[in-house]
Symmetry: C2
């Protein structure tokens, strides 16, 4: 069944009760996506919960193989195994999948899309479109205009990632552990292998044989795929920090062409999806707590690398649940219905 | 008056009631430094407080120009202006100054010492010896053996620095703000320009004209001075994170000679002051909360840089108040009395 333009679309959210799923629902409402019927889907554990969309209560239904009949879009955010199992049923039902999990991102025939960067990767008749990893999305929004003008050779990036990237349980764990530490009590960890409260964990997702984590390799591989250039080298260190929302990233970029922080600042001021916040004298730079709930990728602390010509340093912050997940997914749907 | 060996030494701690000053007192006790008389000095605001050294109560005295008569060592940690004003009086009284402030670090004739790295920089008749910046000390302890074997060309470092580096008031501010956030209340900031609780601030010390902070330039300049090699390039981003104790650092090193993570792991296992904690399969890597109260510089997550030959990535953690300040200062005194 081919996609056809309509006035309104039936949209399913898979994993509706999760941290990203909830943001998908609010983002659809805030951006006034032309929703006809909204179907909220989840596992048996969460089915029956009632969520709100534009003031209307909607009961969460159990996700089944036949959940996608009559739907136009399914926004998946329930983990890779759920996507692998249920996305094919959605495709069979003619419902376009926009998948926030890692399941299909590196599949050759599946586009991995950040609307500001590679909107043209979406085919005329899309079936599954992958939403990139949160830490990658905010980085490539900033890298894309730089790569287009200066050609990026290498990126060294260290991340400061919030716990909301691990879901609602992690938000609760940071809360509970922080209270315990402040009360002088012992903490216990379930989501993370170690205490995250007042600590930094250089460990996101599982470790691979090369010593890097899966999260780190996502930043290497997804960046190349989205920017469409396998020659870009990325050297990542991904770190979980005791912050609730928004990921921060310290980025060093080396380019082919001569580059300057001043020129990049001007370039990024006119690049889509970016807000430059960079006035050190007034202590203005991107901050996690300021980015929370915002759509933009915030860039600041732009400065020439003192250690190497043709290199700059900067600091990128964005709400990982919004631009890093829910917003990017809804933007992909907007691109498709807007064509 | 020249330094002469004795069985025991009179030691003054300037800034005794501060976060570092208190660690200096406990470090002198723990390491059983041969103290004859311990004099605790502070400003009028803190004079009169009573602190404990080896079970003995000692009243904090007011710091004056004549505080150093009869003293052998003065460990300063009361800020650069206090050091600039009072260190000369100490020197005049024949009392060796070990200064934890930034006042003298880059002075040509004043040695900047990390005992594991450049003990020979201390002259036969020392007057003032500068203790390096906390984030620099832990980094150079790890860089030194690597530089000796592979010659370091360039370091890209992003830090995750704890609030104790800003003193006791900052520890209180993180505590108070964290409680307020968890209670859903507004926060106010006095020590930092923005909320530090559940946030990351890419801003440590003041901003300079080149867009870098003073803290960042300390990592550039002090690293060169301590390693005795002005050709080493350092590209730093220093960030304050909501952690109470210990600084973490994400470090990328490029070398002249071919290098591998495996070889560096072996090298560092036999290097002084370092403990390698690097077993990803068991989720073992250096952590701020584990380093707290420990003497070592912990190194882990050693891996080959995928983006460039002759480069590696690793993660360094150390207690910024101990090896980053108090311990390093006491080790310098130990070097002098041990000769």
């Amino acid at each position: 069944m081919a996609f056809s333009k309509k006035e309104k679309y039936n949209v399913a959210v898979v994993g509706a009760t999760g941290a990203v799923g909830r943001r998908m629902i609010t983002t659809l409402a805030e951006r006034d996506f032309p929703v006809d019927r909204l179907v909220l889907l989840a596992s048996a554990r969460s089915a029956g919960q009632v969520l709100t969309f534009k003031g209307k209560s909607i009961a969460v239904e159990l996700l089944t193989e036949s959940s996608f009949a009559g739907q136009d879009f399914a926004l998946f955010s329930a983990g890779a195994s759920v996507s692998l199992k249920y996305a094919p049923f959605s495709v069979d039902a003619g419902c376009i999948v926009i998948d926030n999990s890692s399941a299909f991102r590196m599949e050759k025939d599946i586009p991995l899309v950040v609307p500001e960067v590679n909107p043209d990767a979406i085919p005329d008749q899309p079936e599954i479109i992958a939403n990139p990893n949160c830490s990658t999305i905010q980085m490539v929004v900033a890298l894309h205009p730089i790569h287009a003008k200066y050609r990026i050779k290498r990126v060294v990036v260290s991340t400061y990632q919030s716990v909301s990237g691990s879901g609602q349980k992690a938000i609760a764990e940071l809360t509970t552990q922080s209270m315990a530490v402040l009360d002088g009590k012992d903490t216990s960890s379930e989501v993370y292998p170690h205490q995250i409260a007042f600590n930094c964990l250089p460990h996101i997702d599982v470790f691979l044989d090369n010593g890097y984590t899966k999260e780190e390799m996502k930043m290497v591989n997804e960046t190349r795929k989205i920017l469409g250039d396998d020659s870009i080298q990325v050297s990542p260190t991904t770190v979980r920090v005791p912050v609730f929302y928004s990921h921060s990233e310290s980025v060093n970029v080396e380019t082919e062409a001569p580059i300057s922080a001043e020129a990049v600042k001007k370039l990024l001021r006119h690049s889509p999806g970016i807000r430059v916040v960079d006035d050190p004298e007034r202590s203005e730079y991107p901050l996690a707590i300021d980015a929370e709930g915002k759509d933009e990728v915030f860039v600041g602390r732009l400065r020439n690398d003192l250690s190497r010509k043709k290199a700059i340093n900067f600091w990128i912050v964005s709400d990982n649940l919004r631009k890093g997940a829910a917003l990017n997914a809804v933007q992909i749907a907007e691109l498709i219905v807007g064509r």
